[in-house]
């Protein structure tokens, strides 16, 4: 069997897919299992129900395994003669692995929600249906990851065996994987919010609708990740099969993926805030609107990430198809992506403050203005990240010629 760099990267991609998603699924199943053991010790008859909830975060592991097997079959390394895989396809496989594997870490959030579902059903089995709806929410991130991986495979000819990709497209696929995969970690935030929703709904059934609205807030980060992945695919010709993007553009796509993907971790903060919002709304119905205002604050980091990703695309010529970027500029775009992406982690701090702000406002409504000021303080660091990203783009001539 030929072992070129392309083949090695395919193996790395398969490993990332199954390994990372196994970490997520393992932790998620573990969290749910701990709750299941506790509940079953008291109520033996809840065993079957607990097992169903515990199985929910396993699906991320299955998606990882499925992707790994598809990659190995597509490149003839499983059930085939083995063929020399081009480097571009190797990069594409890494993109698939990152998309499914990183997004598979959303299983941790699903495990948190499932554990809450198991605990709620200990007392009252009528909560099972509603808890199940909340618990499947963090699956969306994993599905987006799987979707992008399948699209990459389809567009690079992995299903037909007629490989059709350039190195630029391969690197763009890595960018897609980072965008949708890392942003998929927002599933942890969604799980935190969903577990709050399960608790509130178990106490007050009428909280179901409002709890759902809060719980889907941290999905926005994943949606931005998916959006950027699709835009990268569209602009690098994956949909049309016209591969005229340069390697530098592929590197810029990696920068886009880092910007929107890592900034998507702000979804964890959003989940913490949304969970507080659910608690406050369950206590006082009129807190719903105010809770939403606080809970969407940590979304700004994701918007900065999306903004930088779109700017990079615009200045890399992706909108117009005029690809005159140098490799140095492409690498610098990665720096810009890291700046705004990693600074976006400040969203977690903002979420913690926003959650406390919701509680303070619930206690004294006139606290809202001051609590909002406390909450936006953390955003200063995200603005620093945005500023440095824009300065990098100016410095290398990406903006302003």
């Amino acid at each position: 069997m030929p072992v070129g760099m392309g083949n090695v990267l395919v193996l790395v991609g398969a490993g990332l897919a199954v390994g990372l998603s196994a970490i997520g699924a393992g932790i998620g199943v573990g969290i749910a299992g701990a709750a299941a053991a506790g509940v079953t010790a008291v109520r033996e008859e809840r065993f079957g129900m607990a097992l169903v909830f515990q199985a929910l975060p396993q699906t991320q592991g299955i998606y990882g395994l499925l992707t790994a097997i598809l990659l190995l079959i597509a490149t003839g390394m499983l059930g085939g003669a083995g063929i020399e895989v081009p480097l571009a396809i190797g990069f594409a496989a890494v993109g698939c692995g990152l998309a499914v594997g990183m997004a598979g870490l959303s299983a941790i959030g699903q495990g948190i929600a499932s554990a809450a579902g198991i605990s709620a059903a200990e007392v009252d089995t009528s909560t099972i249906g509603r808890s199940m709806v909340f618990s499947v929410l963090p699956e969306t991130q994993a599905i987006y990851g799987l979707l992008v991986a399948i699209l990459i495979m389809a567009f690079t000819g992995m299903f037909t065996g007629v490989f059709d990709a350039t190195t630029a497209v391969g690197l763009a696929a890595v960018g897609c994987g980072l965008a949708v995969g890392v942003a998929g970690l927002s599933g942890i935030g969604q799980g935190i919010a969903a577990s709050g929703g399960i608790g509130a709904t178990a106490e007050k059934g009428e909280m179901f609708g409002r709890g759902l609205v809060f719980s889907v807030l941290p999905e926005t980060q994943a949606i931005y990740g998916l959006l950027v992945a699709i835009l990268i695919m569209a602009f690098t010709g994956m949909f049309t099969g016209v591969f005229d993007a340069t390697t530098a553009v592929g590197l810029a796509a990696v920068g886009c993926g880092l910007a929107v993907g890592v900034a998507g971790l702000s979804g964890i903060g959003q989940g913490i805030a949304a969970s507080g919002g659910i608690g406050a709304t369950a206590e006082k119905g009129e807190m719903f609107g105010r809770g939403l205002v606080f809970s969407v604050l940590p979304e700004t980091q994701a918007i900065y990430g999306l903004l930088v990703a779109i700017l990079i695309m615009a200045f890399a010529g992706m909108f117009t198809g005029a690809f005159d970027l140098t490799v140095a500029m492409g690498v610098s775009a990665i720096g810009a992506g890291i700046a705004v992406g990693v600074a976006g982690l400040s969203g977690i701090g903002q979420g913690i403050t926003a959650g406390a702000g919701i509680m303070a406002t619930s206690r004294r409504s006139e606290m809202m203005g001051r609590a909002l000021i406390f909450a936006v303080m953390s955003e200063t660091f995200a603005i620093f990240g945005l500023l440095v990203a824009i300065l990098i783009m100016f410095g290398i001539g990406l903006i302003g010629g």
Binding site: L146, L147, L151, L212, V213, L227, V296
Partner: protein, 656 residues
């Protein structure tokens, strides 16, 4: 006008005391008025009335309600046919026709019904006692079986004038130690032993002198003394006698259950009907505390929907045969205390719950239902975008409407919303070419007809569509905010809250188009755009200070948030395509795997349908609540709760 909540009026009815029951009954049955406590009335006339008092009939109603509940609880529950069956094929019984009758007549009927049904309570109690007795017999039989190998009369166990006999359960590895300790008490003892399950049952007889020493030994927590109570006789005889008793008890229990079932068939419905009538009668008595009284008259004060005020005057006049003064007038200017009723045409009514879920509008605020109801359906269809999925929703909604929708208005409304959402999904599915994803081209080789925009084939066009929709909805929100502020006379709010966005948006559009190279604006246009941007930002920052920056990022975020319309449409189509690809791959493994492929296909699409339907609904709702409402809506109004008899299983004769 459905743009605002229904116009409300204050109403004051002064009725002659002798016509009060008829008047209250008419108001209750028609539900034309919300009655408020006259002691909290803003009108000075409240001083003329003394507060109403709780009547004796109220207490009587409460007592009968408790008794009826006790009888109904004693009757066996109605058989339920599972959730799906109750939703799709509920057993619909026509409401029971009842006559208007005065309190004493109603109470006499209730009394007769309760008396003739109350033996259900005794029968239910007897069933409980039999259960307890059976549990006790079961426990005794377990104990007696331990003595079967020894075959002694259990009556010997205990204390007699000369002997003390005890049965002790001992684990096998402690047996020798136990025997040694027994010998330590006295040499004059009789011991017998036999296996009892895993352990040994040791029967010890000592003289009365050594009773306390024996009890000390067996009270050790490592052994378990068997208590045989008053049991007397040999194990075999005892077990036979107890088994006979248990059989008799079970027969008796079966007979009681049959009797209870027959009683339930005959009496459950009349009891439920009476419970509803007593509840309604109680509500009428309860409301009297909110009324004002003089020697000859009673005052009823509250809120009425302006359009209902003529009906109110007519209903009260007819019931009191003209012995009533009805005054309907405008409320005070403060809108906070005014209750809010929706003013919706029948087609919009099912969507009202969407507004209520967020918060009912204040009395002086726009009612957003007209905007969010149809938009939610439109967004749902756009995001799910699959004709077959939409058809499934429509069929399910139709069945739900014909089933539980006929019995429950809430379910009926929800099924109509679902039907509309399904229809929108079919339309958008056809326009997007989605039929279980790419089913048509992949399996049948058919290019979907009428497909004009596809999230997978043309994501950029779809994104542009999503963002345009976003701009339209956000600006609609701003226009509504202007309308609201004009009504309130808050011109300053318009100046700083909405006008900056109307200036900033076109200015930013020109500057960004130039920046990205999509157009080359001429010099004068650039100057206008730059000036507009500066003025717009200045207006924002003057009011909000540095936090104005977050308003800009917030607006941008709200706009970009509409990109989720593309993302969810893409996810539905993309995952459906993935399932189709997987089904083909499974089928290609072996001819027999076609069955496996069918399972993968069905299961996969069911999963995708469920998850994406949930996503489409919740994300549509989010766009209304977060992005759209953020422009103009806060809510916080108090619901209008008319004094209305809620009849679920009864109908007044003449009102059918």
């Amino acid at each position: 006008m459905m743009l605002l909540p229904a116009e409300m009026k204050r109403a004051l009815l002064v009725v002659h005391r002798s016509y009060l029951p008829a008047c209250l009954s008419a108001l209750h049955e028609t539900g034309l008025m919300e009655i408020t406590d006259i002691r909290e009335s803003p009108g000075e006339y409240r001083e003329l009335f003394r507060a109403g008092e709780r009547t004796a009939d109220y207490t009587t109603c409460t007592e009968y309600a408790i008794q009826i509940d006790a009888v109904l609880d004693a009757l066996p529950p109605e058989e339920e046919g599972g959730l799906l069956r109750s939703l799709l094929f509920p057993s619909l019984q026509p409401p029971e026709r009842v006559d208007r009758r005065p309190g004493p007549v109603l109470f006499e009927e209730a009394d007769r019904l309760i008396t003739s049904s109350s033996r259900a309570i005794g029968l239910r109690r007897e069933i409980g006692e039999i259960d307890e007795r059976l549990a006790l017999i079961n426990e005794w039989v377990g104990v007696i079986r331990l003595f079967e190998p020894l075959d002694i009369d259990l009556g010997h166990i205990g204390d007699s004038p000369y002997l003390s006999v005890r049965a002790v359960r001992v684990e096998p590895d402690r047996l020798d130690w136990f025997m040694d300790r027994l010998q330590g008490i006295t040499g004059e003892l009789v011991v017998d032993q036999a296996r009892a399950d895993e352990d040994y049952l040791v029967l010890v007889a000592v003289t009365r002198d050594h009773r306390d020493a024996l009890l000390d030994l067996v009270s050790d927590s490592r052994f378990r003394m068997i208590d045989t109570g008053d049991l007397s006789g040999r194990p075999g005889d005892l077990i036979e006698a107890l088994s006979r008793e248990a059989d008799d008890l079970r027969d008796r229990q079966k007979n009681i259950q049959t009797e209870l079932y027959d009683l339930a068939v005959a009496r459950r419905r009349p009891l439920a009907v009476m419970r509803e009538e007593i509840r309604i009668a109680r509500e009428r008595e309860e409301v009297r505390r909110a009324l004002g009284e003089t020697r000859e008259t009673v005052a009823i004060e509250g809120w009425v929907i302006a359009d209902d005020s003529d009906d109110l005057e007519q209903v009260a006049g007819t019931a009191a045969e003209g012995h009533v003064i009805c005054d309907v007038f405008d409320p005070e200017t403060n809108p906070d205390g005014v209750p809010v009723a929706y003013d919706h045409p029948p087609w919009l009514r099912p969507f009202a719950f969407l507004t209520t879920m967020f918060s009912r509008p204040r009395y002086d605020e726009i009612d957003p239902t007209l905007f969010i109801g149809p938009t939610l359906v439109f967004f749902f269809g756009l995001m799910l975008g699959d004709a077959i999925y939409g058809a499934v929703i429509m069929i399910a909604a139709f069945m739900l409407y014909r089933g539980a929708g006929q019995a429950s208005r809430t379910i009926g409304d929800a099924s109509l919303v679902l039907l509309a959402a399904g229809a929108a999904t079919v339309v958008w599915g056809v326009l997007q070419g989605g039929y279980c994803g790419d089913l048509l081209p992949r399996f049948l080789g058919i290019t979907p007809p009428l497909a004009v925009i596809s999230p997978l084939q043309g994501p950029i066009d779809f994104l542009v569509l999503a963002l345009v929709i976003g701009l339209v909805q956000l600006n609609l929100g701003l226009v509504l905010a202007v309308f609201q502020n004009v009504r309130r006379g808050s011109m300053r709010e318009i100046f700083h809250g909405q006008i900056p966005w109307f200036i900033l948006q076109p200015s930013a559009a020109i500057l960004l188009a130039g920046f990205f190279g999509w157009m080359v604006p001429d010099a004068s246009l650039s100057v206008i755009a730059y000036s507009g941007a500066i003025i717009g930002l200045a207006l924002l920052f003057v009011r909000e200070g540095p936090l104005g920056f977050f308003s800009v990022t917030g607006y941008l975020g709200d706009w970009l948030s509409y990109a989720r319309l593309l993302a969810l449409a893409l996810a539905t189509g993309g995952i459906a395509m993935t399932i189709n690809i997987l089904a083909v791959m499974v089928a290609a493994i072996h001819p027999l795997m076609v069955i496996g492929a069918a399972v993968v296909w069905m299961g996969g699409h069911l999963f995708n349908f469920s998850l994406q339907s949930l996503g489409a609904f919740v994300h549509s709702l989010r766009l209304q609540y977060v992005e759209f409402f953020g422009r103009f809506y806060t809510g916080g109004g108090r619901a209008y709760t008319p004094f209305a008899a809620s009849r679920e299983i009864t109908v007044l004769r003449g009102d059918e």
